[in-house]
């Protein structure tokens, strides 16, 4: 009987195991193997180059820029997105009518194509677009949208924040709705105002949602591709160059499959390290509210 359950268990999990093997484990080992070669995808010559690809990557200013930019985007994107998504969630939670319609509306950007959104942004900030002309008339100068490192970084950060805020707001909204109303009622009886209730009840009770959103947002920063690819190509002066842009251009423009695999592995390691550090920090924060790992 036990054997029957064992076989049934394996059978039921087989599709996922096969999926993981075919689409994740085998390609991963293949990437590790490729990272030690100089293969160009088609040549009969596949020379083993040892760690050369990794050494080249460590010396590459583009890889260095991608590494630094991931943290730069993180510092800008995570607080901005947390603030916007939390504000959206609080707003949606307070709505007594049409709440679901607005929830869907805020979620829509997440479903929209990144390429389409980047192209729309490109059109909006074009020097001869009506939107840009309006902004110029309000500011009194032409913002160097994509030609200045700081402005280009902000445009890309804002676009990604706009896309993901509605999605993260859903996580916060679900958490907000699970907070018992009695806690607020008791606090109000004790004389706590909105701000005190927010700090002492809402934020601590939302900690698991914060944890999820921050980890997702940090991971996302190591995987940015579409927005800089369409808008800046990684410029100006590598200010918006990302890991994925580097992997893409090496693999599919320069056809250096081995080197691109090495960069992809470094990208994975950087992501693990980045997420681990952030998890360590937010776990410490959670302890202040009594949460343990």
């Amino acid at each position: 009987m036990r054997k029957y359950y064992e076989v049934r268990g394996w059978l039921l999990t087989a599709p996922y195991i096969i999926y993981t093997l075919v689409f994740f484990v085998i390609p991963l080992f293949w990437a590790i193997a490729l990272a030690g070669t100089d293969w160009n995808l088609v040549s009969p010559k596949r020379n083993f180059v040892g760690l050369d690809n990794f050494i080249t990557a460590f010396q590459s200013p583009k890889v260095a820029a991608a590494f630094v930019n991931a943290f730069k985007f993180m510092v800008l994107f995570v607080p901005l997105t947390l603030a916007i998504s939390l504000a959206i969630a609080l707003l949606l939670n307070s709505l007594t009518v049409w709440g679901n319609i607005f929830t869907v509306a805020f979620f829509l950007p997440y479903l929209a194509s990144g390429v389409a959104m980047a192209l729309v942004t490109k059109g909006l900030i074009a020097v001869n677009s009506p939107a840009n002309k309006l902004i110029v008339s309000l500011l009194g100068f032409q913002p160097p949208w994509l030609s200045h490192p700081w402005w280009a970084t902000m445009v890309i950060t804002a676009l990604i924040a706009w896309k993901f805020s509605g999605y993260y707001a859903l996580v916060f909204l679900a958490a907000l709705r699970s907070i018992p109303r009695e806690m607020y009622e008791a606090a109000a009886l004790d004389g706590a105002g909105w701000w005190t209730q927010f700090r002492k009840i809402t934020v601590p009770m939302l900690y698991p949602a914060f944890y999820t959103v921050i980890v997702l947002a940090v991971g996302l920063m190591f995987g940015i591709f579409t927005e800089p690819y369409v808008l800046t190509g990684g410029g100006p002066n590598l200010a918006t160059h990302t890991w994925q842009l580097e992997i893409y251009s090496q693999a599919f423009a320069s056809f250096k499959a081995g080197y691109a695999s090495a960069v992809a592995i470094l990208n994975a390691l950087a992501t693990f390290a980045g997420v681990a550090v952030v998890r360590w920090i937010i776990t410490r924060w959670g302890r202040a509210y009594g949460y343990e790992e």
């Binding site: 689409f23 994740f24 085998i26 390609p27 991963l28 293949w30 990437a31 490729l34 160009n40 995808l41 088609v42 040549s43 009969p44 010559k45 490109k122 059109g123 900030i125 074009a126 020097v127 001869n128 677009s129 032409q142 160097p144 949208w145 994509l146 030609s147 991971g219 996302l220 190591f222 995987g223 690819y229 800046t232 190509g233 990684g234 410029g235 100006p236 002066n237 590598l238 160059h241 890991w243 994925q244 842009l245 992997i247 893409y248 251009s249 693999a251 599919f252 423009a253 320069s254 056809f255 499959a257 691109a260 695999s261 992809a264 592995i265 990208n267 994975a268 950087a270 992501t271 693990f272």
Partner: protein, 436 residues
């Protein structure tokens, strides 16, 4: 997340790699041969090859030709490499430029076309003996048969030039800067030239349409690279860079995003290929070639002899046959290619359907094209420019080299951190180090 992305890249590679190259695709059985021809991922070119294949199959029922566009996954070059590495059936394809061709040759993926029967006759029939010289590889073989050659020319908004008091488009750098000064005085919000691609580090191919177009004009076609050495005409290269710097310094160059700047009159000058004409005809019918828009060769330094036609860059692509096809398939596809390209009427059909100038030496002399060029004056100037157009550099490292040109030469020049001479020296040193 990153691990998934790494795995995604590897999956692409594994799908390409696991097929291997050990088993060539089966050829036809008996007299029946089945071949696969990939056209450029452009509906008009795909339609042309489908039309030709249908006609050919009517006359040759023993041959089955499947025409499909090159999958752009994510680029047409990557699509071809993935197909070859996975052993996917692919007999021949078009849309190959010499740089990518060099990579395929090094990977031993191409059939030397000059070893196939009837090659010389075909070249003679197309009066393309001189033209194919620029397509010869280091081993002396021809692996790519040029099919079209788009000379890059400059378009000027003649209506705005006339408003500024110019009845002729400018020819030299000084004349262009003089036009720019007058333009800024009369229309402070307009620019002479919009070229945001100058500072885009990913778009390596855009150097063909700015620096190389200007450089070949200024240097009378002097090769920029010979084997592993930069053999450029330094004076010409520095003059081009100084010109671009002057445009930028005087506020005549727009490197920010703009939608259809030339077409909407935000700028008055553009470097364009013939593929732009159908777009104008559809979206901007008010732009009339020869009336409010005129074409000129690329600009030249002030000391360039007057009356001499400047050379330009040729965006040229050709057809290749893949070695991993069986001999029967190679022969069948070669017979098909010869059948298509030995008849000038087919080139005329190509011209009508695609608007791209066929790579022939007799474009302006052959009666087959006369009527077309009479009706399409815009394309006639491109046909005239074909003999003066220089194809791209034949190096497998094309992407890295031209990306590097943007990084060490163009961006620092536009940022004002280097002089034109320093910018040229930087790219020279960098290229020679890369090619060591």
């Amino acid at each position: 997340m990153a691990l998934i992305m790494a795995a995604a890249l590897a999956l692409t590679l594994v799908l390409g790699g696991c097929g291997g190259r050990s088993k060539p695709p089966e050829g036809g059985s008996g007299d029946q041969v089945s071949i696969v021809f990939w056209s450029a991922p452009n509906p008009t070119q795909e339609q042309f090859w489908k039309t030709m294949a249908d006609k050919y199959m009517e006359e040759h029922p023993n041959v089955k030709i499947e025409v499909a566009p090159i999958p752009e996954s994510p680029s047409s070059e990557a699509g071809i490499l993935t197909a070859l590495s996975s052993g996917q059936k692919l007999t021949a394809s078009e849309n190959i430029f010499v740089g990518f061709g060099a990579q395929l040759v090094e990977s031993e993926a191409l059939v030397p076309l000059d070893t196939l029967p009837g090659y010389q006759d075909l070249i003679k029939a197309r009066k393309a003996e001189e033209l194919v010289e620029g397509w010869k590889f280091a081993d002396g073989h021809q692996y790519i048969l040029p099919i079209y050659s788009n000379a890059m020319l400059c378009a000027w908004r003649m209506d705005i030039l006339k408003e500024l008091g110019f009845n002729e488009p400018p020819r030299t750098y000084s004349e262009i800067l003089a036009v720019g000064e007058k333009l800024k005085a009369q229309y402070p919000d307009k620019y002479l030239w919009a070229r945001k691609e100058l500072i885009d580090p990913q778009k390596w191919w855009e150097r063909w349409f700015d620096f190389f177009t200007f450089y070949y004009a200024a240097s009378d076609g002097t090769p920029f690279l010979t084997e592993n050495k930069v053999t450029a005409d330094k004076d010409a290269a520095v003059a081009v860079l100084q010109f671009i710097k002057d445009l930028n310094d005087k506020g005549l160059l727009l490197t920010a995003e703009a939608t259809d700047p030339f077409e909407t009159g935000l700028t008055i000058w553009a470097v364009v290929g013939p593929w732009q004409l159908p777009y104008w005809a559809e979206k901007f019918p008010e732009l009339k070639i020869g009336e409010n828009v005129v074409f000129t060769p690329p600009p030249v330094p002030d000391n360039f002899p007057e009356g001499k036609t400047p050379k330009t860059f040729a965006d040229a692509k050709g057809i290749v046959i893949y070695k991993h096809a069986t001999e029967a398939e190679q022969q069948a596809v070669w017979d098909f290619i010869k059948w298509v390209l030995s008849n000038p009427e087919n080139d005329a059909t190509w011209l009508e359907m695609t608007g791209l100038t066929p790579a022939r030496g007799d474009l302006t002399a052959n009666e087959a094209f006369k009527q077309y060029f009479e009706q399409n004056a815009g394309l006639k100037v491109y046909a005239d420019a074909v003999p003066t157009a220089v194809p791209p550099i034949m190096r497998k490292e094309f992407t890295d080299l031209q990306n590097n040109m943007t990084e060490v030469m163009m961006i620092p020049l536009i940022n004002g951190t280097v002089t034109p001479e320093q910018a040229f020296e930087a790219v020279k040193t960098s290229w020679e180090n890369m090619l060591k």
